[in-house]
């Protein structure tokens, strides 16, 4: 197990190098740079723009820029955001807590919904209840998230007024108070609900199918033959086994916890990583774009690693030596 883990970690290094090259090349390939939009005669002039390009090193050959960038990263220096005029680590640091709050809430919502629906559908397969749950799942899978987001804002914010439509915090609350944390949660609730509800489908189906499959297994038949109650069979014997594959999916969710939801965050003007990525692409803030993309790639790699390892732990049969 240890050797397996080490090997998995070592193999990540060349992948990371390749990712860094691709990410950097893509950022370079974006037309224009942060300065090409600054042609405002009222507050700037061509000399200033040329001077800034020189100072930021945008005129250097690409390999020099890449070398400088990698050298910086090794010293935990991800460069400076031209648009936000501060270090990239600080820009991302300001947004990351929002995104993590949103993602964790949406994951909790997903898990709860998927657990309840999957359990019910698995226990009563091929009934009206099961078909309605499946229908609902496919509907949610089919609705694009931005459409759902706009309808949610329209209904819950504008018509009913239950949730705020934008932002991550109300004005005038003091950081650190209970009111502050409640306000944070209230602002994250609606985007989290949309995000969470739309992704339940795969989890629900996973759980449902596994429960149906397990319920035909020999050990279940044995339990039934011994006269164990149906509730006990489903809750103890089947559910515990069926949750295992779901638990491993958590590894894959790590990337989404950090990456947030680009579209949902943008529609809700929720200041998280996803929204930052979009605005940075629009404004050619390449230092931020590169760093976020790299961060997402790394967290996907780590998520996969964790998924593999957790799988080995919860299911000894597939442990690789």
């Amino acid at each position: 197990m240890l050797i397996y883990t080490l090997r998995r970690i070592l193999i990540m290094i060349p992948i990371l190098v390749m990712i860094s090259i691709v990410v950097f090349a893509l950022a370079i390939a974006m037309p224009g740079d942060a300065l090409s939009g600054q042609i405002d005669p009222t507050s700037s002039n061509p000399e200033y723009i040329e001077e800034m390009r020189e100072r930021l090193g945008l005129n250097d050959p690409y390999h020099v820029q890449y070398g400088r960038w990698v050298a910086g990263i090794l010293q935990w220096d991800f460069g400076r955001s031209f648009v936000h005029r501060m270090d990239v680590t600080e820009v991302i640091g300001q947004r990351l807590p929002n995104t993590i709050l949103l993602s964790v809430m949406s994951l909790i919502i997903t898990y709860i919904l998927a657990f309840l629906m999957g359990r019910y559908a698995g226990r009563n397969p091929y009934t009206i209840g099961d078909y309605s749950i499946q229908g609902l799942n496919y509907l949610m899978l089919a609705i694009p998230s931005f459409v759902a987001a706009i309808f949610a804002i329209f209904i819950f914010s504008f018509q009913l007024g239950w949730f705020p439509a934008t932002g991550s915090i109300s004005s005038g609350v003091t950081p650190g108070t209970l009111e502050y944390y409640l306000s944070r949660i209230k602002h994250a609730a609606l985007p989290a609900l949309v995000l969470g509800a739309l992704t339940t489908a795969s989890y629900t189906q996973f759980l449902r199918n596994d429960i149906i499959e397990s319920s035909q297994k020999d050990y279940v038949r044995t339990a039934r033959a011994k006269g164990t109650s149906e509730n006990r069979i489903y809750n103890k014997h089947i559910l515990r086994n069926s949750i295992i594959p779901i638990v491993t999916l958590f590894g894959f969710d790590i990337a989404s916890i950090i990456g947030g939801a680009v579209i949902i965050e943008t529609v809700f003007t929720y200041p998280g990583i996803g929204q930052l990525l979009i605005t940075s692409i629009e404004r050619r803030d390449s230092a931020v774009v590169i760093t976020i993309t790299l961060m997402l790639s790394i967290s996907t790699l780590i998520g996969n690693l964790i998924a593999d390892l957790v799988y080995g732990i919860v299911d000894p049969r597939i442990r690789v030596e």
């Binding site: 005669p41 005029r85 300001q94 694009p144 706009i150 439509a165 915090i169 943008t266 003007t269 692409i281």
Partner: protein
């Protein structure tokens, strides 16, 4: 309507580009707002001009659609995202612009010496900064010293390079800024001259940097650290009607009333500056989440009869245009060598062929004014329209001019050809800035095709903002015609966009007469405002005749304001003039 949703959704799913997704999101939300607006139709008899005593108390939320960087210092900020916040807590400069964009005394009055070189400012006394310090001439000098320092990191060097000794200080040759002379705490003298020619400048007050900088608050910092310092980003100090309470980075800033404000304590308890999704702005206004927002025309029309909102309009300080590529930039100056539009009759024919009024009505809901001069219609220097050729939409006249110039269909393919019998094709390039960009560009192309010009959108698509200006700036050989826009400063001097050695002279138009007039506009005689106005009148007539670009319109900015918020003055770039006069009626 429902069918439309699905069309958009299907289109969206076929198209993986995020920008298109966002575009659809905007479309959808606009449709929703339309839907919502119609339900309110029944109650639209609201009177919006509630009069009454200015009441005390309350908080007003000013919304904006793009997250702010948080550089809360005038000398270092970069975009409107930060300048809006700055105007709330530190909006006062020595000079402000009046209704006709003429400079007026504000924090200071001034004298200009006989020779035109020296300006003496007489500051208001008893003006206080939020940290309890008094505002003095030290603070004015401090701003100029920071901006001329070799380590200065902000973008506004061009506003101080006219001060005598600025170049020397910036290059490190001199320690002192020789052109600045503090006479007493309320009087300061500054010597200015043209940064290249050394001549006196009639527009020096407009060019010069007049925002003071709190020396007691920032003086202890290294110059290259100011931009990042907590003194700027977390607890900035200003002298405006509201002081900064709390900053949530990129999202909102809360301000509270500053009772010692020099023009009187504000009516409100506080102001909130808040970033929201611009495509939902109208609904957020109705919902009360924001109180003031600059609405896009497409949203403004949907709420103009809603009694929970009233709209205020004001001409913006900008104009849009269609430019002809007449030459190229050779690295140092513009060279006019492209034969395509060399015949002025062809350029004029294009102007007659394009229905500018129709464009405004179809795509901007009529919010805007068709102009024939490349200047803000608010400006004191805007020429007399009656002296300009109006180029009213007239396809027949356009066809006549093209015939006259020899552009006729010589090979019977349905399109006009050049006088030499070669194919005459026109590539039109436009940028993709909002939901009206594409239909508007198609409209223009159609107008040109209607008079027999083989015009088409370059590569059949619109260009992203950055790419557009990169290609226009490098004179990409495929560009014949391009549609752009310029923001304007209060001063009407065309230098920067129109001279032979200006990189941003995108049409690459070079004209001796124009050079001469622009120089005259900055000459010693131009200290006489009537002389200067006359020079610009002549210059605009010349441009109007030569037509290196077709001015389209000067936009009207529309501000949506919650009906219980009063005292708001809309202005050329925002509605933040005199926020201490705002009040709530409930």
């Amino acid at each position: 309507m429902i069918m439309n949703y699905f069309k958009h959704i299907i289109k969206g799913m076929n198209n993986l580009k995020k920008s298109h997704l966002m575009f659809i999101v905007m479309l959808l939300s606009i449709s929703l707002i339309v839907a919502c607006g119609t339900t309110d139709e029944g109650t639209n008899e609201g009177t919006n001009d509630q009069t009454g005593e200015a009441e005390e108390g309350g908080v007003v939320t000013y919304g904006f659609g793009q997250s702010f960087a948080g550089v809360l210092d005038w000398a270092h900020y970069d975009g409107q995202d930060d300048s809006l916040a700055l105007k709330i807590f530190n909006g006062d400069a020595l000079v402000r612009n009046g209704d006709d964009l003429m400079p007026e005394p504000h924090l200071a009055s001034w004298d200009i010496s006989e020779d035109g070189y020296t300006i003496t400012f007489y500051l208001e006394e008893g003006v206080m900064w939020h940290n309890g310090e008094e505002f003095t001439s030290e603070d004015v000098a401090f701003a100029w010293e920071v901006m001329t320092h070799p380590e200065y990191t902000g973008p506004r060097w061009s506003n101080v390079r006219i001060i005598e000794g600025a170049q020397e200080r910036r290059s490190g040759e001199a320690e002192e800024l020789t052109g600045v002379n503090i006479i007493d705490p309320y009087t300061i003298e500054v010597t200015v001259k043209h940064h290249e020619t050394g001549e006196p400048l009639p527009n020096a007050i407009d060019l010069l940097w007049t925002y003071p900088m709190p020396k007691a608050h920032l003086g202890h910092l290294d110059i290259d650290e100011i931009e990042d310092a907590d003194e700027v980003r977390r607890n900035p100090v200003g002298l405006g009607a509201y002081k900064v309470d709390n900053i949530v980075p990129g999202e909102q800033i809360t301000f509270s009333a500053f009772e010692d404000y020099w023009r009187g304590a504000p009516n409100l308890d506080g102001v909130v500056y808040r970033i929201v999704d611009g495509s939902m702005a109208a609904d957020l206004l109705i919902n009360g989440e924001i109180d003031i927002y600059e609405l896009p025309a497409s949203q403004a029309v949907t709420v103009q009869h809603d009694d929970r909102i009233y709209l205020e309009e004001k001409e913006g300080l900008s104009y849009s245009y269609i430019g002809f590529k007449l030459g190229h930039w050779d690295g140092e100056k513009n060279v006019m060598d492209n034969p395509k539009f060399a015949d002025v009759r062809v350029r004029q024919a294009f102007a007659y062929a394009i229905d500018r009024e129709g464009m405004l009505n179809s795509f901007s809901e009529g919010y805007g004014t068709v102009i024939n001069a490349a200047e803000s219609i608010l400006s004191w220097a805007y020429p007399d329209e009656s002296s300009l050729n109006q180029y009213e939409f007239d396809p027949t006249r356009a066809a006549e001019l093209l015939d006259e110039a020899g552009y006729v269909d010589s090979n019977n393919d349905g399109w006009r050809d050049t006088p030499d019998g070669e194919e005459f094709t026109v590539n039109f390039m436009a940028m993709n800035s909002n939901e009206i960009s594409e239909p508007r560009a198609t409209f223009i192309v159609q107008n040109l095709q209607d008079v027999g010009i083989n015009a088409r959108l370059q590569d059949g698509q619109l260009y992203d903002f950055n790419l557009f200006y990169d290609l226009v700036e490098e004179d990409h050989p495929d560009i014949d015609l391009f549609m752009g826009a310029w923001g304007l400063s209060a001063d009407p001097d065309p230098t920067g966009l129109w001279r032979e050695d200006d990189l941003w002279n995108y049409p690459r138009w070079v004209n001796e007469e124009s050079e001469r007039l622009i120089e005259q506009g900055l000459s010693l005689e131009a200290f006489d405002i009537d002389y200067r106005r006359d020079v610009y009148q002549q210059w605009h007539q010349l441009v109007n005749e030569e037509l290196p670009l077709i001015p389209l319109n000067s936009p009207v900015r529309v501000y949506g304001i919650a009906s219980d918020v009063q005292g708001v003055t809309p202005d050329v770039s925002d509605a933040l003039t005199d926020p201490h006069l705002w009040y709530r009626t409930n």
